[in-house]
Symmetry: C2
Subunit: 552 residues, 2 copies
């Protein structure tokens, strides 16, 4: 039972009371790291470099420009842009002046993009040249948008027969930067980011200045992403994807040099930036790193400054961790979601772990890690009863904390359960607080009342030499309710007949998982159905195989 103490019964402190506002991050960077560089690969094609002092000046010009375009505090302003310095200026110019920076994911389906612009009622959209044709399709569908501003030099501006385009650099040039950041409530909305669920409409997470700054503090800690002025950080994860995991905030907070890769995320382009800008840490998803590693291997290159890569979004395959390790790069596992700003946990070693064997260490580092201070986690069973943190029991992962949403933007009903946010992930938590995702709640297979982790099944399957991609889904079973079916994309060079391959794969599971976890059947397809953001669509697979007959 939690008790509450009324403020009248307390002695109040005598410390300065000032709101935590996002603008102060950039002011801090200007005052303490004014000459530190921000380097960007531009959509115009060249490399752009300037400093935190320059960025802060131009962010104030952005704020003035917004005011001239009649933007009011609280208005939503959209961006359709890659990672770059202008996007960073928009982050600060918009949020710093009390408006809401709505980063739109251009990889969503067009109807989703139109839906979220209308749902947010964006007043202006700032977009990179790359997205002109997308914007041209949006214009007739998005009546709330009063200005479409292209993030381009004046002499590189594209022309459009459909819409009247404004030029960002021309608008900025009209302003002198003589602007003081306003002061307001730290619980005010600062940014808006929609989730791209596999079902239903996209839903918006509306962050606050307070939540953003607390997330930046916690995520920059040495046990988290370890961001400091001695580091050169390359956020490969897009700024339209949960604010590039908060790096646009944690880097100015700590004075880290930033390297923005723009639209070019191929191995050669990323390697060039890492090498020439002496990047020490990058953040991204496994698919990006696969391209980088392949390029480095093919070209027989090596890394000089590059020490760490933070991987989120999905689990890093152990083989990729080993490859990075050969190049002297440590993989840091992080777990999060849009509703968590996004970081909830980061994997790491304690002082006592440093004495352990490499394989024991890897066992810890392959988990999703411990919660950052500011986030609490628990796992519960189907009835909401808390399960033990013993590393074995797995249940629905619930979180709460200072940078977790309490509701979606403009949603009626809160998703919270007794004050906790249900993540939709199924996980274990060990006695040391290490969380490990075992499944998505909707993907877990409920066989005879017991749960089977589809991810554990897939991890075994993927180790089989003939398997390129594997997905484990539940299919209806008359006796057990649900049983696992393994869906496999074979490697192209595999010529073995499917019937005998199926037997091989099923035999491969023996001794690796509990007997009753072994799939009832294996089926082969040519390619996996993917969402707009490249995630496996298990829902689609379940539809596809809903009539699949298992042997009784």
């Amino acid at each position: 039972m939690t008790t509450f103490i009324d403020s009248n019964a307390l002695l109040m402190s005598q410390m300065m009371s000032q709101p935590m506002l996002i603008s102060s991050l950039l002011t801090h960077a200007k005052n303490n790291y004014g000459t530190t560089e921000i380097v960007s690969r531009r959509t115009e094609g060249d490399i752009h470099r300037y400093t935190y002092a320059d960025c802060e000046q131009r962010a104030r010009q952005v704020a003035q420009m917004l005011s001239r375009l009649d933007v009011q505090p609280g208005d939503r302003i959209g961006t359709l842009a890659w990672n770059g310095y202008r996007h960073l200026e928009l982050y600060y110019g918009i949020s710093g002046s009390g408006s809401v920076c709505h980063t739109i994911n251009p990889r969503l389906f067009e109807e989703q993009i139109a839906y979220i612009i209308n749902h947010a009622e964006d007043k202006i959209i700032f977009f990179d040249i790359t997205f002109l044709s997308l914007v041209e399709k949006m214009v007739p569908q998005c009546p709330t948008v009063q200005h479409w501003v292209c993030l381009s030099d004046k002499n590189k501006m594209p022309s459009s027969e459909i819409i009247e385009l404004a030029c960002y650099e021309t608008l900025i040039a009209n302003e002198n930067g003589d602007y003081a950041w306003p002061v307001f409530d730290e619980f005010a909305a600062s940014a808006l980011c929609y989730t791209s669920g596999t079902t239903g409409r996209p839903k918006g997470a509306l962050y606050s200045h307070r939540s953003t700054i607390l997330h930046a503090y916690a995520s920059a800690l040495p046990g988290s992403l370890s961001i400091s002025s001695a580091e050169v950080i390359m956020p490969v994860v897009p700024m339209f994807h949960v604010n590039a995991w908060g790096t646009p905030y944690s880097c100015p907070m700590t004075g880290a040099k930033i390297v923005f890769p723009g639209a070019k995320l191929d191995g050669a382009s990323l390697f060039e930036l890492i090498d020439t800008e002496q990047v020490t840490m990058a953040a991204g998803v496994p698919t990006i790193w696969a391209g980088l590693l392949q390029y480095v291997k093919e070209q027989n290159h090596s890394f000089h400054s590059f020490k760490r890569t933070v991987i989120g979004g999905s689990t890093c395959p152990p083989a990729m961790m080993a490859s990075f390790s050969e190049y002297g790069v440590n993989v840091v596992h992080a777990w999060g979601m849009t509703e968590l700003s996004p970081i909830g946990t980061v994997a790491g070693l304690k002082a006592v772990d440093l004495q352990k064997s490499k394989s024991e260490q890897n066992h810890i580092l392959q988990k999703q890690g411990r919660s950052l201070y500011g986030i609490e986690m628990k796992i519960v069973d189907g009835e909401g009863k808390q399960l033990p943190n013993d590393g074995k029991a797995f249940g629905d992962l619930m979180v709460k904390g200072s940078w977790v949403i309490s509701n979606y933007y403009r949603a009626e009903e809160s998703p919270l359960v007794d004050g906790w946010f249900p993540t939709g992930d199924v996980s274990t938590i060990d006695a040391d607080g290490n969380m490990q995702i075992t499944d998505r709640s909707k993907d877990v297979i409920k066989s005879g009342g017991e749960w089977i982790s589809s991810i554990d099944i897939e991890n075994v399957a993927i180790a089989h030499p003939a398997v390129l991609i594997a997905a484990c889904i539940s299919v209806h079973h008359p006796k057990w309710d649900e049983r696992p079916l393994l869906v496999v994309v074979k490697k192209t060079e595999i010529l073995q007949d499917e019937q005998s391959l199926k037997k091989d794969i099923l035999a491969f599971f023996e001794g690796k998982v509990a007997k009753w976890w072994i799939p009832d059947d294996v089926t082969f397809i040519d390619q996996m159905p993917l969402t707009a953001t490249g995630k496996l669509m298990k829902l689609k697979l379940r539809e596809l195989f809903k009539d699949h007959r298992l042997a009784q």
Copy 2:
């Protein structure tokens, strides 16, 4: 001109809103670092070790015990204790239950201690056995104190003919720990710490839960003290001295193992703990480190795990930085004060600095460093006009931020000037934000309207081979108003006559400082007057030499 935006004009966010409370630090440590150790050298003589999980359990027992002793939220509870696990339990048990943890500095003069206990109206005093005779003197002078509780095992309890003593372990054993931390306003007072000024009455800084947690976040960052679960931290700076620079909060936040040295701060005892407990970082003042280095040198020992030492309180002599460096230990300079919780700045290298020469790096690392995010700094002249951050201009250092006091406890008049706290230090700030203390405001020498830094003069003097300690003070001058006088304690082995030594020392300044900065005279004394906490009392020196006649 700062503008304020009213909350009604803003869009409010939809994030969870929960107060930042100190109890959550220890809960976090229990959940994520439950098995991590806290090791203490006890006043009973032995080494004690337990875990964060144990500490959290006993902190809840402390909270129950306080309630049984009729402590109400907001009540001040005093401690007279060394660094150890029981003191940590008190920090959390007291603050966590909504009361105020008043750490009393036993090194103050007795009348000062009585004054602050009475000023704070402490209801209970918890004290280490070491302080029994002090406590016996306090009892008749401190009528608000209802219980004097000795931090001791039952079978080691001392006896007193003067007062009735309670035993901490007996009181704790009465409680079962079935207690839930209460929830309340994050601006509530959590701890109280009095400054030991060289003039006037001690003044209390009344910290909040919010200020303490924000300070912990900022001070644990990799560019600050870099505290993580991979580190083993030894706070040598006392928990009665500005909360041991916040380490009792930043260590549980990040899961660092803590090693408490108790009352034994000699070189041999500290080395033993560093060596056996594999301490990676320690925090303290130069006098402590001089003893440690001397012991290590004499015994021909070396450090294995020890990587960093954080030095605050006063500037680390370059010779000590070099000695540590020989042993593979980096010195990290920090600056702060009681009114800042305490950390304001930490010195460190940026990515571009890593390419520079060792001597250029040392030049940066010898400064007091950049402000943590959350603290703003400026320097002003005698009229309050802001001076440039050019590394040359020096003026009164003013600060503001989330962990700076707005007033002293129960003081009528706020010390703030236009919302800024005047630190009483005189400093420069360079274009990179690096602050360097040049003097205390009251020690700066005002010669013909221009300022002379007494610390710069002393730094030159101390490099002279005959000088053991030097202090530069102002004496009245009929023409220039003030002129510098150098007061010197000679090394014992120096036999040179004082008249010729004086000439040598004055000649030593030539080319090292501006000609008009060279002291007008040198005078020799046997020893320097010190304050209760071991600081040089320049006020006393100025009194001693107020009639000193300078050549015109």
